[in-house]
């Protein structure tokens, strides 16, 4: 093919950053929290404004400080995930809002306390199909609540019900 100047001038496209997304297959990803969110008055008083989470455990971290529910030490193990804690420490981030990192489908959720749940509290599993046909599954664990209704509909958006499979 020959490329002419007409071709160049007539068909020039322009890059813009898109804010439009569609449900189903994931496109762009984002963090699961809003860095501008205020979640603790105490934190604000200490000058640590904003819903900043910091990494407590990073990916593949060898945790040498494992303890059981009763405080007894456990052998060190590799953690194949990340733990994020509020920068004000302790449980000052309790109840902080968590967001979907990308378009996807809620696969399962369990708020704990049922015969099928472990004793790690609530969790939510979301499947993010990727444009190449693969998928990633994000697990949010130790959560206090799920902000969706699992009983009535297929999809969930902010303040919309969703379905669990």
């Amino acid at each position: 093919m020959k490329v002419t100047s007409t071709f160049l001038l007539g068909l020039l496209g322009v890059f813009v950053f898109s804010g439009v997304v569609y449900a189903g297959t994931a496109g762009v990803f984002r963090l699961p929290y809003d860095t501008n969110q205020h979640w603790s008055a105490d934190c604000d008083r200490r000058g640590l404004i904003g819903y900043k989470l910091i990494a407590d455990q990073v990916f593949m971290h060898l945790n040498t400080d494992l303890k059981d529910r009763y405080g007894n030490p456990l052998p060190p193990k590799y953690h194949l995930a990340e733990d994020w804690n509020g920068q004000c420490g302790n449980s000052t981030d309790f109840g902080g809002v968590l967001y979907a990192v990308a378009d996807g489908i809620v696969e399962k959720a369990d708020m704990g306390g049922s015969p099928t749940s472990q004793d790690n509290g609530g969790w939510l599993l979301i499947r993010h199909p990727l444009p190449d046909g693969n998928a990633r599954y994000i697990l949010y664990e130790h959560i206090a609540s799920v902000e969706t209704n699992p009983r009535t509909s297929r999809t969930v958006q902010n303040r919309r019900p969703c379905v669990y499979r």
């Binding site: 068909l11 813009v16 297959t25 979907a100």
Partner: protein, 253 residues
Amino acid sequence: MYIGDTIARLGDGNGLYPTAAHLHFEMRRNNSLTLGKDPYYNPLSITDALKYSSPSLFIDDRNRMGTLSLTHGSWSVFPAPEHAPSSTAFIEYSGIRHSLSKASNLQWIYQYVYVWQNNRWESFSDITQVWFEKDRWYAVYGFVDGATLNILFPGNNYQKDRALIDMVRTLATNINPANPQFTTIQPEYTTTQEDANFVYYNMPFVYNDGNGNKSGYVWQATQKSLPMIRWESCDNPTGQPLGWRRIDINVLD
């Protein structure tokens, strides 16, 4: 469910962590793993490590996007605003997103892409093999109206996570993970060194050659000026060691 939807509230594991509420944030490559149980392993095998992705790295690689509108029967010409792989780029048409490969198969776009280099347009027969280089010009042909080309720009943060995943992949590719001589990887002993051009990561692994456990090493080198350029190398307890070899720049996690 859409990006940015409110989905949950951060908690303390129903009291399991009464003074340390936190988010356990985990990314899996498949859905066959146990739910509601932290992914703790020791020893850590290649097979188990490959079941997971680093969520921060994965998001950082896909956090910013440039979009180009395509037109039916026309070449759209554009300069790449940043370095980016084609492996995470996608075409969106009628609300559906597909990889460049799938979009080409569906005849949303032409499989050829033209790249301006050496003062002329050069054709590449497979758009999925193209690396988008910052400020270089590209031409993509659309077969449908209303489609967009979307390119995701890696943030190039979390380089250690990328190095760890690259090194696990290097071992999986060059050493049979099912070989009983191979035992475990030890990411906690990963060290870094650097020179003017590269950061070098070095992770030990353990194998048994019949005379007890021995250590081998796997290396990854990340180019400082363009972190997507990486090299790999490793010992091989059952064969020839792998000399330095360039990792496909289009391969992310």
